[in-house]
Symmetry: C2
Subunit: 554 residues, 2 copies
Amino acid sequence: MTKENKLQIIPLGGLGEIGKNMTVIRYNNQILLVDAGLSFPDEEMPGIDLVIPDYTYLIENKELVLGILITHGHEDHIGALPYLLRDLNVPIYGTRLTLGLIQAKLSEAKLGHVVTHEIKPRESVKLGVFKVEFINGSHSIPGSIGLGIHTPLGTIVHTGDFKLDYTPVSGGILDVHKFSELGDKGVLCLLSDSTNVERPGFTRSERLVGQNIDEAFESAQGRVIFASFASNVNRLQQAITAAFKYHRKVAVVGRSMVNVVAIASELGYLNIPEGTLIEVDEIVNLRVNEVCILTTGSQGEPMSALTRMAMHDHRQISICAGDTVIISATPIPGNEKAVARNIDMLFKLGAKVIYESISGMHVSGHASQEELKLMLSMVKPKYFIPVHGEYRMLMKHAELAEQLGIPRENTFVAEIGSVIEFTHHGAKMADKVSSGRTLIDGLGVGDVGNIVLRDRKQLSQDGILIVVITLSGATGGILAGPDIVTRGFVYVRESEIMLNEIKEITRKTMVRCQQNGIREWAALKNQIRDVLSKHLYDKTKRRPMIIPILQEIK
Amino acid sequence: MTKENKLQIIPLGGLGEIGKNMTVIRYNNQILLVDAGLSFPDEEMPGIDLVIPDYTYLIENKELVLGILITHGHEDHIGALPYLLRDLNVPIYGTRLTLGLIQAKLSEAKLGHVVTHEIKPRESVKLGVFKVEFINGSHSIPGSIGLGIHTPLGTIVHTGDFKLDYTPVSGGILDVHKFSELGDKGVLCLLSDSTNVERPGFTRSERLVGQNIDEAFESAQGRVIFASFASNVNRLQQAITAAFKYHRKVAVVGRSMVNVVAIASELGYLNIPEGTLIEVDEIVNLRVNEVCILTTGSQGEPMSALTRMAMHDHRQISICAGDTVIISATPIPGNEKAVARNIDMLFKLGAKVIYESISGMHVSGHASQEELKLMLSMVKPKYFIPVHGEYRMLMKHAELAEQLGIPRENTFVAEIGSVIEFTHHGAKMADKVSSGRTLIDGLGVGDVGNIVLRDRKQLSQDGILIVVITLSGATGGILAGPDIVTRGFVYVRESEIMLNEIKEITRKTMVRCQQNGIREWAALKNQIRDVLSKHLYDKTKRRPMIIPILQEIK
């Protein structure tokens, strides 16, 4: 009896979250990876710079991996590559802009040797047992694609991040013909973007934003400062087009903005009329109504160019009265307060700020309910895996699919590490594989775990109180101290009485321990910690971290 | 020549922010205070429990204060009273529910002796030179009022928090007649709620929510868990009405919910049919479709009842499959992620969660643009001060007023501490008074300042590294240590090599200092801090707080 053929889909990221997308497609002993993204830390991860998927599974199966297919160049789809590729040397497949953005990352990470293959929509590639078709997409970054992955057990369709945009700014519309053709021939399983499943109706076209940008430029009297996601190349194009139309020169500010504008214009994704682009230090030579500044900071990030300009903390540019600031983005969940703070600061400086979503300065890059229904209807898969969404979104997407006739038991609302396994007999959830998140902090990859995070959170709440005592090895008596050092607990200069009390209590505790014959350091430290903890809570209702440190002189 | 009479309006809170409302109305040497609220800390204030206005100005003028007028019983209007009234013994004026909620607070704070005066809409009170009229309002808590404050220099109208609700659940509609009458007679200055000035159109009626609540109860199969703001008594009423209609008993969970239900039903604001209310431990005796649980936690607060139920961390109730959870609130800015996390957890437990704003389970308590225009048109003040809003909202409200014919120079977009001064000659901004925020942390009022907050933030980013050395007083040589203790920096068990390096580097630094004759402790500590800081950043790209501690044995 031969072993049964198995096709497995294993999400390693991007489910139960918006971010760090990574999906394994495995047929027997051959693996394709779709995307390798990062996510940004939330307030539960203080001090963390980035989060990437735990890809132990890939490392354990590294000789099986044939290649990495990248659907588009957003950080939540490419950001883990500089880490993953240290451990896994496989070729990358993506469109021109996607590879341009990846290559910039890889050369920075000294991974310039990695092999990349540029692909175009409607092309296909044979990788082991798989045949992969690339399908033109439509999203908030050019060069986005969907995937048709043909396997001996059937075809898998992965939408990538998508919306329908019948009037896109570039790149043509989503390839409804190809999705329909695949659906007509029969699709085993669809993986579809769930980001906007909570929104009824259709997502508006990028082109509508262009009209509003044009109007804003037309009526602006002073400088125009245009903040957006650097990767939203079509948005930048529309701002540049408006700037040119109204005789403004364009300066580019902010590291990622400079980076993307360089790559996108070199690769032909941005059309910047000759003489339009200027250096930032040339601004002073122009009248205010001849200036447009493209900048990062649409999310209120504290270190971003726009925030610095608003706080007069930018080396070259400060916002002033008469400026028009266009924030062409909506806050990503979690950034609402930071964005609002920036807007307030800009208003205080006398700028005109165009920011409300009702001003039509932003549209989403993700499909709303009606578009998701169209995708499900075109592809009409036997099985369905909602991806790219938090849990409630995946559930809602499953509900939507059920309304369109996909039986609930054929939809898998999966988690990171879930294995959805297909055989000739059908599909099921198999045992999970090891998965999770890996925290990046400075140079450390995965060395900050739950204990360190827990300590950081505790430190941030009530600070730390350190008690230092030097003991005599001979007698166990105190030779020096107790000395008290605190940080983040109380303002020391106003708390001398309390700190003296703490010294006295510590001294008494030590004496009592000595009288009771307690000399083990662990026991002494516990005693000090317990007594001080209770005392401080009674006095202040706070719980600083208490660290007793003993030293001994022989 | 006699001294000129002066009327001053001085906001001490609630401008440039949503929260801690407090406004001084001063005529020569007589002061009225409107509201005394708190706000909740943001992520820039780790460990802080509450924030109240810095009311130094009131303390400095305490013998001038005649009374405190409270517009309604929300925390951002009453929460500072337990602190303020320690230092200022003046009577409080408010409606029955407002006083009920205040009295609960004051007795907890052992301030039961404070004098309160219950007032009703259409009544008026004479306070020194002022005559105060109370005007029926409409908001997300019953007993909300606006104020007409007559002074020798003219009438000030303060809207309080308001919306128009032509079909309110209780309490009658906003008293458009009184506002119009005052406007007709002539109003010197209007202070109006700016919270929803960014929203076009009208805010929907509370009664619409009731219809949707009814439908949700009608179709629910298992238990209904209804989460809302405790203070939204009309919302609770609508849930209780639906529960009764569909033969469900109601249990109340969560400290503030229990508190408000008790006060509001005792004072006649909640109509709970006999036998409807049950204790939580009686739930087990009922079938699931006979149970409704009113609970706190609509904002995803980690310690709230709903969050605990979702995490199986509540003493009595856990959410399970078949439950219908209604979240009858929208997230306050900053709470979006916490609310979303809760919803995801509830879905994972198999509950049906009704949460989207599109499900019509919530309406705002604040006026949208068209209502704000109506208020401005009714009151037609000479001068206008937009209040209760972040800076951009105040600016937008000023713009709205200008469209309605109030000259821009007659509108004061003020800040906390601004003094808007009226005389017979007109109005102007005068010098600011001392103002700001006072942080409450445990029992400490104002003892946590910027230095402590800065330390807490730094500690939360990369943790702390403590270096302890005992020196010989005679020789300056090392008698014990260096010992290293870290928290929140690296996982210690996996970092032994690094920690040994740190010891070695510290030892060498001490030796070098000794050779160079450096013996002052401040200099020694600086040397250690500098050398270690550089080393750690090179090795890890992190910047833990480094605390060198020296002790000396004579």
